[in-house]
Amino acid sequence: MKDENKDLSAEQSLALISGMIRQAQGNVSYSTKYILLWGWCIALANLGMYGLMKFSTYPHPYVVWLITIPATIVSIIYGIKEGKEKITHSHLDKITMWLWLSLFFIIPPVITFGYKINFQINPVILLLTAFPTFITGIILRFKPLLVGGICFWACSIICFMVDAQTQMLLGALAVITGYLIPGYLLKRIKV
């Protein structure tokens, strides 16, 4: 691109502006490591809780969810490291980041006040997760994540109608179809 202005007409200027804005908007970055980390973490927690409920008499099967604590710590460390390394940010990068961060703030009250909603915690969380998954799919223009968002939504609806044990299996299914499959497909494209 040269720095000449004598031939730049109004139409050319507008075309240049829209072309550059499109380029900047297309520069959305994504990190599959968060999708895969949380995909595995939540799938294992769901299956672990299902296993404990079904095959043992252990009175506190929900302890398996404690694995989300190290996953959170690892995510924070990754996030800080990436924030330092990555300088070029688009507005869509920021929107995607806050979309997922907001989920971290929304989920704890749902768990804390789960007793007020008849312990329908799993379906509510699946429903809440459908939203950022779907929107991230739109931002990245990546269909498997759009389908993933729909899977979360569909599993959430079924979850409302089944018992607590089956909810765990549905939770694992939702995470496998909503996070893990799109995550690995995205990773393959990236490589």
Binding site: M1, E4, L14, L16, A24, N27
Partner: protein
């Protein structure tokens, strides 16, 4: 009566840079160079002009041992860009 287009923005490379920065939180020099398909020398001169006018801020730092130049659009830059686009629209309507 049409307003004159801001001569600082009515240049291919500077307009390209401003159009990229309006959509970004911040951008590295290498990113701007790649997207505008310009040479480092030319880009550097044009970035200095935009910075002197207060349209962008340029921050120089280090990423490990490599020098890093980061550019951000300022409020003044956003206002000038919006005004430029509005004036362009007037020209096109004419």
């Amino acid at each position: 009566m049409f307003k004159e287009l801001d001569p600082l923005l009515h240049s291919q490379l500077r307009l390209g840079v401003m159009s990229l920065l309006i959509s970004m939180e911040a951008a590295e020099f290498t990113f701007l160079k790649e997207k505008t398909n310009s040479t480092a020398g030319n880009l550097s001169v044009q970035l200095d002009k935009l910075s002197e006018a207060g349209y962008i801020t340029i921050e120089k730092s280090f990423k490990g041992k490599k020098p890093l130049t980061t550019c951000k659009i300022t409020r003044k830059g956003i206002k000038a860009f919006e005004e430029y686009v509005n004036n362009l629209k007037d020209y096109i309507k004419k």
